[in-house]
Symmetry: none
Subunit: 225 residues, 4 copies
C-alpha cells in the first residue's frame, strides 16, 4: 500500500464517521474497518485517537487559515487604511469557508465537524484549535471591531457568537433540517441557498439596535442562575 494512501484513507473515513456520529461514538475499529486499514495504523500514523481528531481538523483549518490570511491581506491592500465594511468582512469569511471544503466536496462534513468541536466534550480539541488558529480569528475580530465602532466591545463579542451559533447550528444540522424542509415545503435546499438566506439575517443581527437598559430585570423573578 502506497505510503500515505493509508493516512489519507484514515482521514477520509474518520471525518465522515466523526461528522455522522460524533467522536466518542466513533471507534477506531469503525474507522479502520471501513477504511480497510489495519487497526494499529491509526496509532502508528497519528499516535492516538485525540491526535487523529486534531489531524482531521487540521486538514480543513490549515488551508482555511492560510487562505483567510491571504484574503484579509488583499482587503487591507484594497482599502489601504480605510475601514473595511462589515458586509465585506462577512462575505470574505463566508467565501473562504465555502471555498476550502469545496475542493473536497464536503462542506456539510466540515460544518458538522465545526459544530461538534463546540458541542462535544473534547477539551483538547478546543485548546488545539484556539492555539493553532487563534490568530486568524483575532485578526478578523479586530477588523470587525473597526467596522462596527458604535458597538460596545462586549456587545460585539456576544453578537459575533450569536451569529456564529446561527451559522454553525444551521449548517451542522443541515441534513435533519433539510429533510423537514423538503417534506413540509417541498423544497430541495442547497448549502448555497442557505448561505443566501443567512446573509440578511446575520447582517440584521449584527446591526440590531442595542438592548435598552430599561428592560433590565424583566425576568429577574423567573431566573435564578
Amino acid at each position: 500500500m502506497a505510503q500515505s494512501d493509508t493516512v489519507t484513507r484514515i482521514l477520509d473515513t474518520a471525518e465522515v464517521l466523526f461528522a455522522e456520529r460524533g467522536f466518542a461514538e466513533t471507534s477506531l475499529r469503525n474507522i479502520t474497518s471501513k477504511a480497510r486499514v489495519n487497526l494499529a495504523a491509526v496509532n502508528y500514523h497519528f499516535g492516538s485517537k485525540k491526535a487523529l481528531i486534531q489531524a482531521v481538523f487540521a486538514r480543513y483549518l490549515d488551508p482555511f487559515s492560510q487562505r483567510f490570511h491571504t484574503a484579509l491581506d488583499e482587503l487591507e491592500v484594497k482599502y489601504k487604511g480605510d475601514v473595511i465594511p462589515l458586509e465585506v468582512l462577512l462575505e470574505t469569511m463566508a467565501g473562504t469557508v465555502l471555498a476550502v471544503p469545496a475542493e473536497r466536496n464536503s462542506l456539510k462534513v466540515f460544518m458538522r465537524l465545526l459544530g461538534l468541536a463546540y458541542s462535544q466534550a473534547q477539551g483538547h480539541l478546543r485548546r488545539y484549535i484556539q492555539q493553532q488558529y487563534g490568530d486568524v480569528f483575532t485578526r478578523f475580530t479586530e477588523l470587525v471591531r473597526q467596522a462596527t465602532p458604535e458597538l460596545p466591545d462586549a456587545e460585539r463579542f456576544w453578537r459575533l457568537h450569536f451569529m456564529l451559533g446561527t451559522v454553525i447550528f444551521t449548517l451542522s444540522g443541515l441534513d435533519a433540517l433539510r429533510d423537514i424542509a423538503a417534506k413540509d415545503y417541498n423544497e430541495q435546499v442547497t448549502v448555497r441557498d442557505l448561505v443566501k438566506r443567512l446573509r440578511p439575517v446575520v447582517v440584521a443581527g449584527m446591526n440590531a439596535p442595542l438592548p435598552s437598559a430599561v428592560d433590565e430585570g424583566h425576568y429577574a423573578n423567573a431566573c435564578a442562575s
Copy 2:
C-alpha cells in the same frame, strides 16, 4: 432510603454529568458513584441508559410543555382572535424557558442538554422529543406564522431555526464563552444579561429583509456541495 430519593439523586447527578460531558462520555458508573447509589439502580428504575437520558429531558420538558400550553392559552384569550405579535410570542417562549429550570436552579444545565439533544448522536432522543413534545412546537410555529404573514413559509421555517441556533449555541456554550468574556471584557455576565442581549438580535433576525434573488449564484464557483 426514602422512596424516590434514589430516583431523584440519579436524575440530579445524571443531568449535571450529561451536561458537562455529553451522553457517551458519561458512564452509568460515573453517575451512580457520584450519586452514591447502586449501579443497578439505574436499570431498576429507568430500564436502560437511553431511558435515563429521556427521563432527564422529561423532567424539564414535561413542565415546560404544560406551562407553555397554558401561556399560549392565556395569550389566545387575551388577543381573542387577533394576531398575537411576534415579540409577544418570543417573549412568552423565553419567559417559559426561563421559568421552568429556574425552579431547579439550572437553566445552564437545561440549555446544555438542549444543545446536546441537537448535536449528539442520540437518534432515540430526537425521536423521543419530537414524539412527546412535537405538538407544543407545532402550535407555537403556527402562531408565529400568523404573526409574520409577509414571510414565505420556507423562509420562516429557516429563520426560526437560525434563531434557535443563536439561542441554543450561545446558552449551551455559556460557560466557555463567559470565561472568555470575563477575561477580555472584565464582565460577569448572567443568563439574564444574555437574554436581554439576545432579544433585539432575534427580533432583528426574524424581521430582516428577504434575501434578494439577484444574489443567486454568488458563491457558485466556490461551493461544490
Copy 3:
C-alpha cells in the same frame, strides 16, 4: 390475590419456560413477569430458584410416584408371586407416565423437563430426584430383573438406560422432530403415535442378543479414551 394462586401461577409459568429454554436460560424475572407476579414472590414462596426447579418436578413426580407404586401393587397382587412379564412392566410404566401429565395437558412439557434433568448442569436436581423418588425406580428395576433372568445384571442396567435414552431423547425433542417429520413425510404425529412406534423398538432392544465377546477390541485401534 388468592393465597395459593400465586404459587400455582409461578409453577405453571415456570414449567413452561424451563421446558422451552432450560433452567439457566430462564430467569426469575422471565417467570414472574410472564406470570404477572411480584419478583420477590419466588423467593418468598419457594426460597430460591433451585427450590422452585425442584417444586416444578415434584408436582409431576409426586403423583407419578404414588400412582406407579399403586400400579405395581396391583400387578403383584394379580401375578401373586409369579414373574411379571417384561412387556407388562413396560406397558405399566408407560401408562403411568402418560396418565400423570395427561391431567395437566402437558406431556410434552413433562418430557422436556425429564430430558433437561438429565442433560443440564443441575447437580442438585439429580440428587433431589434420586433422593425423593429413587425407591420407585429401584422397585421397578428389581421387577425387571426378575422378568429378564437371562440378562447379566450389568447388561440389564445398560439396556434400561439405552431405552431410557431412546424415550427421553425422542419425547423431549418432540417439537423439533415433529416439525421435520411433518415437513418431510407429511405426517402429523401425536404422542400416542410415538408411543405406539416406540413399543416394539424398546422391546426388541431389551431382548436383543447379547453382544458377542468375539467383537471385543473391534475399534481398539480407533478409540483412545
Copy 4:
C-alpha cells in the same frame, strides 16, 4: 506467545467446560481464566461467545464430516451399486465417530457436546450444525433408506432418531452412569465396551417388527396431548 496457541488453548478449555457445565453455565471468564488467556482474546479470535461455541463444534465436525464422506465413498466403490447392508453403514458411522475425537483423546467430551447441542437452548447452534453438516447426514440417511427398503419412510425416520437418542443419551451421560455401574456392578466400563453393548441393541431396534395397527388407541384414554 506462539501464533495460534491462544486459539487452541481457548478451544481446549472451552470444550471441556462446556461439556461439564453446559453453555450458559460456562462464562467466558471461566474459560479465559482457566486457559490463562486474556478475556478479550475470545472476542478477538472468535467474535462472540456464540461463535466460540460453533468453533468448538467445528473442530470436531469438520474432520468428522470429511472422514465420513470419504468412508461412504469407499463403501460405494466397494459395493459398486449394490445395496450397502445396514450393519455396515452403522459400523462405518460408529467407526468414524470414534476415530475423530480419538485423536484428541476426548470422545467423552464430544459426546457430551453432541448431547448438549440437542438439549440446550442454543437455537443458533442447531441451525449452524444443520447448515454446515446437513449434507453428510442426508447422504447417510439416503443410504440407510436403500438398506431398509421394507421400512416405511416415516418409520425409518423415527427409528433413526430413537437410536440416535439411545447413543447420545448414553454416551453423553457416560460419567454419571459409569459411576453408578461401577458402584453397583463393580465394573469399569470403557467407551469401547459401551459401543460393543450398543451395537446389538441398535440393530435390533432398527429391525424391530412394525407396530401393529391393532394396538392403536391403546393409551387413548390416558393421554390427552
